[in-house]
């Protein structure tokens, strides 16, 4: 290939990408017109000579493949009726944050979350917001909390290690009931781990990372499109229920490009100016509704609403209160909010068979892979389905019933779980995958798990094989 490239360029290191693009065009039976047009557009600011050489390389790759390769794939392109947006997950996340009406994003550089902040830093001020690069992860979270307290909900973007550092402040947001959105673009852990590689290892951290009982909503994006829409939902939930909302994406979604239908922006996403009306006399900052736990948030600037917010146990006046009754009163009402929010959720649809021998449960970026594996097994005559969860905390009603419709349930995740049968591991000491723990605890169902933590996306054929093993021998990993 280098030899051929040398005909057009002095440095084949810089030309072979165009050659390979031409090869791919031939392999997938695509005509080159679209590629020519896009290459011309990309190099529009370069000289005619550079453009021509790139086009020649493109065609050379195409021609070489026709002469030398004895295989090609026919994948019919699916024309879409509506305009599509093509971005990676981190760009979609940044677009979603801008569309959510949130105006302040505080962050500290961390891989693989930074590219979202890069794009936000470039664009946010055009849309009436700003990115604050704080001195550390803790300060970024504190800054976002301060901004949220004084106005609209703010967001902080991070990855696993930064998430660990923010935990005490997430507890403060839960305790003082300040809306806050925390995005965790997950990477391999623990410690510095695999900074650029994918893992789904932070679900339990998101759920239980804070000391004490700190109710928060945990949701996960499965697609690039989710990365756009979930920040909008997250802000709405955070402000409606006055609590932290953790949004989990991962290193795969961060860089994966997937098209999705161009969103139609809605005015209400941006709305909600800060309430500065006077607080009626007698209204207290923590007048919790006895059935929903909700209360009106007092924002600085509101006459008559003066009080001191505190991370200490407090009574309904927000006064520090150490008495046993006040402490439980607060705990109960903060917990109640999750129950109230849960009532608004509906269980996701089951992919594949609605009941049968095996249900695979997943969350996050593995959705496509799992569904492909399920399709494969169904084509082999198996009765299997997949359930993919967006809301991990709280979980929608009806999930337990879905699990019970299948003979066996298997979670498929990209985080560590022990194999069942080793010299040391038994069912007594087995450590399960993140979601498997949660499902077992909540639904009292013997949910098995299969996981791979190689820092790589899962492959449909390995998931399919795990499913076959599970169906045949009752154990997914053999």
């Amino acid at each position: 290939m280098e030899q051929i490239c040398l005909q057009y360029t002095t440095n084949p290191q810089r030309g072979k990408n165009m050659f390979v693009l031409g090869m791919l065009g031939w392999l997938y039976g695509q005509d080159l017109d679209l590629a020519r047009e896009q290459v011309s557009f990309t190099f529009r600011t370069k000289s005619k000579d550079i453009l021509n050489r790139n086009l020649q390389l493109l065609e050379a790759g195409h021609e070489w493949s026709g002469q030398n390769l004895d295989f090609r794939f026919e994948i019919a392109s699916a024309p879409r009726e509506e305009a599509q947006i093509v971005v990676n997950g981190n760009t979609a996340l940044a677009l979603g944050i801008m569309a959510s009406g949130m105006e302040i994003c505080a962050m500290y550089p961390i891989t693989p979350a930074t590219s979202a902040s890069h794009y936000l830093s470039e664009m946010f001020e055009n849309v009436g917001g700003m990115v604050h690069q704080a001195e550390d992860e803790i300060a970024a979270c504190a800054f976002a909390i301060g901004a949220s307290y004084a106005g609209k909900c703010a967001v902080t973007i991070t990855s696993g290690p930064g998430m660990a550092l923010k935990q005490e402040l997430i507890g403060l947001a839960a305790m003082a009931e300040i809306p806050l959105v925390i995005v965790n673009v997950q990477r391999g852990g623990p410690s510095t781990g695999l900074p650029t590689k994918v893992e789904q290892g932070d679900l339990l951290q998101a759920m239980f990372g804070t000391h004490g009982d700190a109710p928060k909503v945990v949701m996960a994006a499965a697609t690039v499109e989710d990365c756009f829409y979930q920040p909008i939902a997250a802000r709405k939930i955070a402000e409606a229920f006055n609590l932290p909302v953790i949004l989990l994406t991962d290193a795969n979604l961060a860089t994966a490009q997937q098209p999705f239908t161009r969103p139609r922006l809605r005015k209400e996403w941006f709305a909600a100016p800060i309430d500065q009306s006077a607080i009626p006399e007698g209204e207290r900052p923590y007048d919790w509704d006895p059935t929903t736990g909700l209360r009106r948030r007092f924002t600085p600037g509101q006459p008559g609403g003066m009080h001191t917010l505190t991370g200490l146990a407090h009574d309904r006046y927000s006064r520090v209160a150490y008495d046993p009754a006040s402490n439980e009163d607060g705990l109960r009402h903060r917990s109640l909010k999750l129950a109230a929010f849960q009532k608004t959720l509906t269980a996701p649809a089951v992919f594949g068979d609605p009941d049968g021998d095996l249900l695979v449960v997943g969350w996050g970026s593995t959705k496509g892979v799992i569904e492909e594996a399920v399709e494969q097994l169904r084509s082999e005559g198996r009765r299997v389905g997949a359930l993919h969860l967006t809301y991990l905390q709280p979980m929608a009603s009806g999930i337990g019933e879905i699990l019970k419709r299948f003979r066996q349930v298997l979670s498929v995740e990209m985080n560590w779980s022990d194999s069942v049968e080793t010299s040391q591991t038994t069912l007594d000491n087995r450590r399960y995958s993140n979601l498997a723990w949660l499902l077992r605890a909540r639904y009292l169902i013997d949910v098995d798990c299969w996981s791979e933590v190689q820092g790589q996306p899962l492959k449909p054929r390995t998931v399919a094989q795990a499913m076959r093993n599970k169906l045949k021998q009752g154990v997914a990993r053999v």
Partner: protein, 327 residues
């Protein structure tokens, strides 16, 4: 949120409104020990709020954790009693969102100079318009008598039973060593008039004003500051036409006075270094330093329609349809 017309109307109507009295700035009763120096600081800021007629709903006291950080509860304003060491970044978030609010931070030597030390240096660099009061009692009081970063070497405490092994951190010198500093002053709780004057000037300074206050802890270090209280020889009062101007009745209590121009950073640094006498007054002031909120005010100046249009233009960049692949 912030509606300029509404604010204007309010400011006009405020002229006729009843002025706020000291009572408007009282919160719940203080739980500090009797004779605690924090009480003097509380009195000073309550008086400041009343004198300056700050609307209680437009004023926020932010604190971390420690004895000092209980102060917001004792105010009649908005308050945010945050986490240990984190008062400054919380206050910065409030200020960036709401430059219309008066933001104060009350913090202690442990809160600011130990667990929150990183935030302290960066807060100075951001130079947001916030008044920071460092209550420096040189001991951990709330957690009951542990050595603090500002405790003198040899101090016996529960965690230094054989005496503190290190020389103390000097908050004044450390602050004056930073870049972007704009206001640095020192006061002591037992000279209330100077304490008030310093806080008042700090409040009027536009930028981050850092006031180090030597504060007595009668419970754990009852005699710690006695030598300074009993022997005015140990203090030097800094006065200047552009700095503190003290009435003669007060000034004559100080044996040592120095005309110190707050623009003179070199002299301020000299004064801050450990020596026989500690300086009281304004060490440094530079009103020219840029405020972070002035250069980063991207928030809420666009209408919803403008914001939606800007975002649509972003979508255009990434939109693919058959007609034009590059969008």
């Amino acid at each position: 949120m912030f509606n300029p017309i509404e604010t204007l109307i309010r400011s006009v109507t405020d002229i006729d409104a009843d002025p706020y009295s000291l009572g408007d700035f009282l919160g719940v009763d203080s739980r500090w020990c009797q004779r605690c120096g924090n009480n003097a600081i509380l009195t000073a800021v309550q008086k400041l709020c009343a004198e300056e007629q700050l609307a209680p709903e437009k004023t926020v006291f932010v604190s971390g954790i420690g004895c000092s950080s209980r102060l917001p509860h004792y105010m009649g304003t908005y308050g945010f009693h945050a986490l240990h060491g984190r008062a400054l970044p919380v206050a910065e978030g409030i200020k960036i969102r709401r430059p219309d609010l008066h933001v104060f931070v009350t913090t202690g030597d442990g809160d600011c100079c130990s667990i929150g030390a990183g935030h302290w240096l960066h807060a100075i660099r951001y130079n947001m318009n916030i008044t920071v009061l460092l209550h420096d009692n040189q001991i951990y009081g709330l957690t009951k008598n542990q050595v603090s970063p500002t405790s003198p070497r040899g101090l016996v405490s529960n965690t230094s039973p054989h005496g503190a092994s290190l020389d103390p951190l000097n908050p004044l010198a450390a602050t004056l060593g930073m870049s972007n500093i704009s206001f640095v002053a020192q006061a002591v709780d037992w000279v209330p008039s100077v304490l008030y004057d310093v806080i008042e000037q700090a409040f009027h300074h536009r930028g981050l004003s850092f006031v180090c206050i030597m504060q007595r802890c009668p419970n754990y270090l009852p005699d710690h500051f006695e030598e300074y209280i009993k022997n005015p020889d140990r203090l030097v009062l800094l006065t200047h036409a552009r700095g503190l101007q003290v009435e003669e009745s007060i000034a004559r209590r100080f044996k040592h006075r120095e005309e110190h121009d707050p623009a003179d950073l070199d002299r301020a640094r000299e004064l801050s270094m450990p020596r026989d006498r500690i300086p009281l007054g304004i060490l440094y002031r530079n009103p020219e330093v840029l405020c972070y909120e002035d250069v980063r005010s991207g928030v809420e100046h666009l209408s919803v329609a403008e914001r939606m249009a800007a975002l649509e233009r972003e979508f255009d960049k990434f939109t693919v349809d058959a007609a034009s692949p590059q969008g």
